[in-house]
Amino acid sequence: MKLASRVISRSAFLSGAWVQDSPLYGAERRGAPVVASVRIAEEPIVERGTIGEPDALLVLDASLFGQAEAAVLEGVGPEAVLLLNAAEPADSLQRRFALPGRVLGADLSSLALEILGSATPSAPAAAFAVRALAIASWEALEAALRQELTEVGIEGPRLEQNVVCARRAFDQAPVVGFPPQRARASAASRPMVVPRLPAREAAPSILAPGNTERRSTAGWRVFRPEIDLARCTRCALCFALCPEGAIRLAADATPWIDSVHCKGCLVCVHECPTGAIVAVREAGA
């Protein structure tokens, strides 16, 4: 996500705009949720920090809309342009999640999988956004892509594949541009004096053990493991070796996968001694 945002902002920068880009993440490692901000203007930008009311939103994991605490739509108004990485059609997603604004979708993960061999959609996502929002020409985008990829150590054939993948996404993207700049909407919130909680309730303690169960990590998957029970010998290795504990055993030792909490790491596919677990492309990812 950080890479996509940097390619977008550098494309604008190379086209003569003043830009500012910054990531915000819970921890500096893959798997942690990331929000990146890009500001583009004709004059020097003085604001900074997370963007309160985006004109456009690029979402690489559409399942985040289903997680209330992710608050993806906070500050997104009715005029915003939403660019989504999803196989599901845009209008279907808009209905399903009650999305505001203008929604455009593209199956960037599949595109990446096809051309790069892995579902890392940063380059095509950046291209999709740059084209859809009319931020820069292909020439500027390509130059930005090459520079940003080189800076993170992606070179040679891998770099070229990313450029090809970006070109496809760029060519396929509809052009809608940014929504017209309007005065900021009046605040939906009002100031209030912080109430004092009883002290015994005022620490960030958690008294609901195991409540991460309420969070789905299904949206992480590009591939889903499926068990062919005819080939399964009930050796239970998959159960033992799942890092998430997402494979359970029934009373007769038949394994079943908790698809809400499976992250699609595919360790089970790799480890199954009889090849009874196969990786299936996740629909809608």
Binding site: G26, G31, T212, T217, E244, C265
Partner: protein, 308 residues
């Protein structure tokens, strides 16, 4: 090693004490090792955590633990364990808590916090004979901050702070600090290395340590897909190769006396283990670094020669 309690996979306890839905990377070897470790300990546990990847298991308002958890600081999780253990002892002794309310106290720390910054509090707790467990997930780097080189990073691995460059084509020039031996010198009751690729060995060691009072220290190899540059699906296999090539010896020390619990008699070449990981790619491309590869193999050979 002959296992008494966990002889086959059917002996792996079914109960999960870590719920799904956390934000840890898919394929995290450290998470798998902790999950197995917790199964062997049971539910009555309080974790004292030092800063690292696993700190982000519990982010307000969510916790995956069916047990208890206290995040302390990077340097002092063992001191937190001291406070937890002492308080439980005093409260139970004074009759303010029933004995059934007792908990096992477990430090959870990555290698970054276990070496260097955390050694002071660890050695202090071990010296005082604290009755606690220490579970170190060793992904051989400061993974949570982007995988910078830590004292646990192996020689010749590369990272953002020891990149393979013209000035240093071999990457990290320093040897992996031997935490097992540093800990052993402090005199814990029990000490072991484990790997998520060998779940029964891991569980059995917990069972062996359980009846002992005093420090029970576990060093778990934590294969790390983003840090080591692996396909998450290969996470367990790479950990297995570490054991099979002799790079990660599986051993235990009961009151200081070392015994290997798995001896790979026909060790796979170290190269086979290194090959699958991006962090060692510079040893093979753009050209093979034969001299360095030979040194790495020789180091492993020498370890096993000393141990036999």
């Amino acid at each position: 090693m002959r296992r008494e309690v966990y002889r086959g996979i059917r002996d792996v306890p079914a109960e999960e004490y870590l719920a799904g839905g956390t934000g840890l990377c898919g394929g995290c070897g450290g998470l798998l090792a902790l999950r197995l470790f917790h199964k062997a300990l049971g539910p009555n546990v309080v974790f004292s955590n030092a800063a690292g990847c696993l700190t982000l298991l519990a982010v307000f308002p969510f916790s995956p633990f069916r047990s208890s958890w206290l995040y302390t600081a990077m340097a002092s999780a063992p001191a937190g364990a001291q406070g937890l253990r002492d308080a439980l002892d005093v409260l139970i002794a004074k009759g303010r808590r029933p004995p059934e309310d007792d908990l096992q106290v477990v430090v959870v720390s990555g290698d970054g916090a276990a070496h260097g910054i955390g050694l002071q509090s660890t050695l202090g707790a071990v010296h005082r004979g604290l009755d606690f467990w220490y579970f170190c997930y060793d992904n051989e780097g400061f993974a949570n901050t982007g995988f910078q080189t830590s004292p646990s990073s192996p020689r010749a691995s590369r990272s953002p702070t020891t990149p393979a460059s013209a000035a240093a084509p071999g990457g990290n020039p320093l040897r992996k600090q031997d935490l097992f031996e540093l800990w052993r010198a402090a005199g814990p009751a029990y000490l072991a290395t484990v790997s998520p690729s060998h779940p029964l060995d891991l569980l059995e060691k917990v069972a062996r340590a359980r009846p002992l009072r005093g420090p029970k220290l576990f060093l778990a190899l934590a294969s790390c897909p983003p840090g080591w540059g692996l396909d998450p699906a290969a996470s367990v296999e790479v950990a297995r190769l570490a054991v099979q090539s002799g790079v990660w010896p599986l051993k235990e020390a009961l009151h200081g006396e070392v015994r290997h619990t798995a001896v790979p008699h026909r060790r796979k070449p170290v190269e086979e283990y290194l090959r699958g990981q991006e962090r060692y790619r510079h040893l093979f491309e753009p050209e093979r670094r034969d001299a360095l590869l030979a040194e790495l193999q020789a180091e492993v050979d020498a370890y096993w020669a000393r141990s036999e």
